[in-house]
């Protein structure tokens, strides 16, 4: 990993920049590129490093072995110096993330699934949670703009969405896994569509075309999975943005007027530094962002910055998730990629209250990986039931199981909408600290009854589809623990400063020159992978900053 891009410009020590961005993941990258191109002076602080894709293990024989440790998405398993620890002793789900330029998308599967129209109106439609302060239609132009920067692949015409512009690159091959899944769903008369992915099928905006290596979730060694170290930062830096890596922010500072003045951070060598700025945008994910605001206490903000409402850290949403393994007689070549979903289904996405729960879930069908993948999913050994003796899983039983499953298996991921609850929250831990001595976050998170019912219903439907397609073996991992990819809701947008942290433009009610552009700002979670919506919201908020630049209140 290198510290900076070689042509990152230098600002003078003590210089006040227009905008300080904290976090160089998907949302921070969108903001950095567009603000810099519009003439703002921009500094971004990123606690991780710039990725070196020659280090990604996907081409090597030890690939599956190291995805269970060094490249596992759970920072508590990886335990690398740039990760911060998270107390999960009171959480049903482990949060997953990655520190580095490009953020957690470095390890994502690149499923590109924008929120649906109903996701923005759950209070109006279903009487639960809250409506967003804007609509699907308001966000659509920003989504379409982002898709052309990201290099999305897919097929136009999916009846899951209102008519809209096509993805900029053709759909990836769905492979034998996708074809079999489509057959299963077709037999039921249910919706399916070839997967839309943040992985271009042709070379695009610095990305290479996908070669279906199938190792997306340990970093793409081909440079084909869309991450912002490739698609955004070269443009941002060319436009003058400065990216500081290995910079762990300790506190956002404020002046006597209650305006943000910049941030104090610990650099790679352990030295404390301060970056001054007229405005600050926090993009550190749904755990890192509230952690930082809660760390930023002062006489004026004794309970944490922008926390007059008491909502900072509350309403954490991580999506209920179940995985279903299905094995078929046919050779599905199921080690082949892409790992982004081959086929998706929204058949049971919208609310039908007769099912006993509200909202719904999206299904994504993925390949199963290599030989160790016969019992594992994304680095975790889950497709093995408890056995009374060692001999039940080893010896000839191991050979028979691997021969039956390897190359013949698909994995269905069920992502359900997670309704916000104030009791699900991010706190600062009393004793746990990161490698710089900064208090670590603690999660309190329980899977709700609505989520439980939702997952059970969807698991049963997936099993029906697999049975219709002739599955010879299935296994369910109900509410898989290592699935907290989607960290949302902990600094929600809203119109009432009494129960929300941000206004509809991602601007803190309490601190007018402090912004949050990441998934923390989401009032609700949808039931889909959120990166498309996170980047679209960041684009919307950034364009507003640019258009209102003469009216912005700054320190």
């Amino acid at each position: 990993m290198s510290d900076t891009i070689s042509n990152t410009p230098r600002f003078k020590r003590g210089e006040i920049v227009d905008v300080l961005i904290i976090g160089a993941g998907p949302s921070g990258s969108v903001a950095a590129k567009h603000l810099a191109q519009s003439g703002f002076s921009v500094v971004a602080l990123e606690q991780g490093h710039f990725p070196d894709r020659s280090k990604y293990p996907g081409r090597n024989p030890e690939w599956e072995l190291v995805t269970q440790k060094q490249w596992h998405p759970n920072p508590n398993y990886r335990d690398l110096p740039r990760d911060y620890p998270i107390n999960t002793s009171e959480s049903d789900v482990n949060p997953l993330m990655f520190s580095g330029v490009g953020g957690s998308a470095t390890l994502y599967a690149a499923h590109w699934t924008p929120f649906l129209p109903s996701d923005f109106r759950v209070r109006t439609l279903d009487g639960v949670a809250d409506d967003w302060p804007f609509t699907y239609e308001d966000l659509l132009p920003h989504l379409e703009a982002v898709e052309h920067e990201v290099g999305v692949s897919g097929l136009a015409g999916d009846p899951t969405y209102p008519l809209r512009s096509p993805p900029p690159t053709p759909a990836l091959p769905i492979g034998k896994v996708g074809a079999k899944a489509a057959e299963c769903l077709d037999k039921m008369g249910w919706h399916w569509w070839p997967g839309t992915n943040a992985i271009p099928s042709v070379a695009y905006n610095g990305l290479n075309a996908c070669v279906r290596r199938g190792t997306c979730m340990s970093g793409c060694p081909e440079g084909a999975k869309s991450t912002t170290d490739i698609t955004y930062w070269p443009h941002a830096i060319k436009a003058g943005a400065r990216l500081v890596t290995g910079a762990r922010v300790r506190e956002i500072t404020v002046n006597d007027s209650g305006l943000a003045t910049g941030a104090t951070y610990v650099d790679e060598n352990g030295r404390e530094r301060h970056q001054r700025a007229h405005s600050v945008i926090v993009c550190a994910n749904g755990i890192g962002t509230p952690r930082l605001l809660l760390l930023s206490t002062s006489n004026r903000f004794p309970n944490g910055l922008a926390n007059t409402s008491g909502m900072v850290g509350k309403r954490l949403m991580m999506h209920p998730f179940s995985a279903i393994m299905a094995v078929f007689e046919e050779d599905l070549e199921s080690w082949r990629g892409p790992y982004g979903h081959n086929v998706e289904s929204f058949q049971f996405y919208e609310t039908d209250k007769s099912r006993g729960f509200v909202r719904g879930a999206k299904w994504g069908v993925m390949p199963s990986g290599g030989l160790l993948g016969a019992t594992s999913f994304v680095g975790s050994k889950v497709f093995t039931s408890e056995k009374p003796s060692a001999g039940d899983m080893w010896g000839k039983n191991l050979h028979e199981m691997v021969e039956r499953r390897f190359g013949h298996t698909m994995v269905w991921g069920i992502i359900g909408e997670d309704l916000p609850e104030e009791s699900n929250r991010v706190l600062l831990d009393d004793t746990l600290v990161d490698s710089d001595g900064i208090p670590a976050p603690k999660l309190i998170y329980k899977v709700s009854e609505n989520s439980e019912r939702m997952l059970k219903f969807h698991e049963e439907r997936v099993l029906e589809a697999c049975k219709a397609g002739g599955a010879i073996e299935t296994a369910i991992v109900h509410q898989m623990r290592d699935t907290g990819w989607h960290l949302l809701g902990t600094c929600r947008m809203g119109t009432d400063p009494g129960n929300s942290v941000l206004n509809e433009w991602g601007q803190a009610h309490d601190v007018p020159n402090l912004y949050v552009f990441d998934g923390s700002s989401f009032p609700t979670s949808g039931g889909v992978n959120p990166t498309a919506t996170i980047m679209s919201v960041a684009m919307r908020q950034t364009q507003r900053m640019i258009s209102e630049r003469r009216n912005l209140k700054v320190a």
């Binding site: 030890e62 269970q68 129209p117 097929l155 009846p159 074809a179 569509w193 290599g370 030989l371 060692a390």
Partner: protein, 141 residues
């Protein structure tokens, strides 16, 4: 000081690994492909975090027949058993001869024509989805 693997350690682990992964039909046993030799060094090199548990496991099974050792460790210290199992299977499934026998070329690079009409379009399979019409709930007025 880092504990070094001895020849006795390799013999002990090899017997244990052969019990977990015996010869069966076309498949070789673990030590036939080097699970207690070069592949053991490779696995512990790629996963140094496993070393401590690996040696703990060896100490626990020393002096016992492999079958009895496996069942005892499985019940008395399952996490350590799992580490020995992962070292054995991790090495075994990296072996080129095992991959050849299983028909696994590794995670390979494939070429394709992104502009070709997919089978699911040409066959009309996707048409059935389209003809059923929209399935989203529109934004309320």
């Amino acid at each position: 000081m880092t504990r070094q693997l001895t020849n006795d350690d390799r013999i002990l682990f090899g017997a244990f690994a052969d019990h977990l992964i015996p010869a069966y039909k076309k498949m070789p046993r673990a030590t036939d492909v080097g699970v207690a030799a070069d592949l053991l060094d490779a696995v512990l090199g790629f996963r140094p975090d496993l070393r401590e548990g690996f040696f703990r496991g060896l100490d626990a099974i020393r002096g016992l027949p492999a079958a009895e050792a496996a069942e005892r460790l499985f019940k008395s210290d399952n996490p350590t058993f799992e580490i020995l199992g992962l070292v054995a299977s991790g090495g075994y499934y990296m072996a080129p001869e095992v991959r050849d026998l299983m028909g696994y070329p590794g995670q390979e690079s494939l070429s394709y024509d992104p502009h070709a009409t997919p089978d699911y379009v040409a066959s009309g399979l996707l048409d059935r989805v389209v003809k059923r019409g929209p399935i989203y709930v529109a934004t309320p007025a």
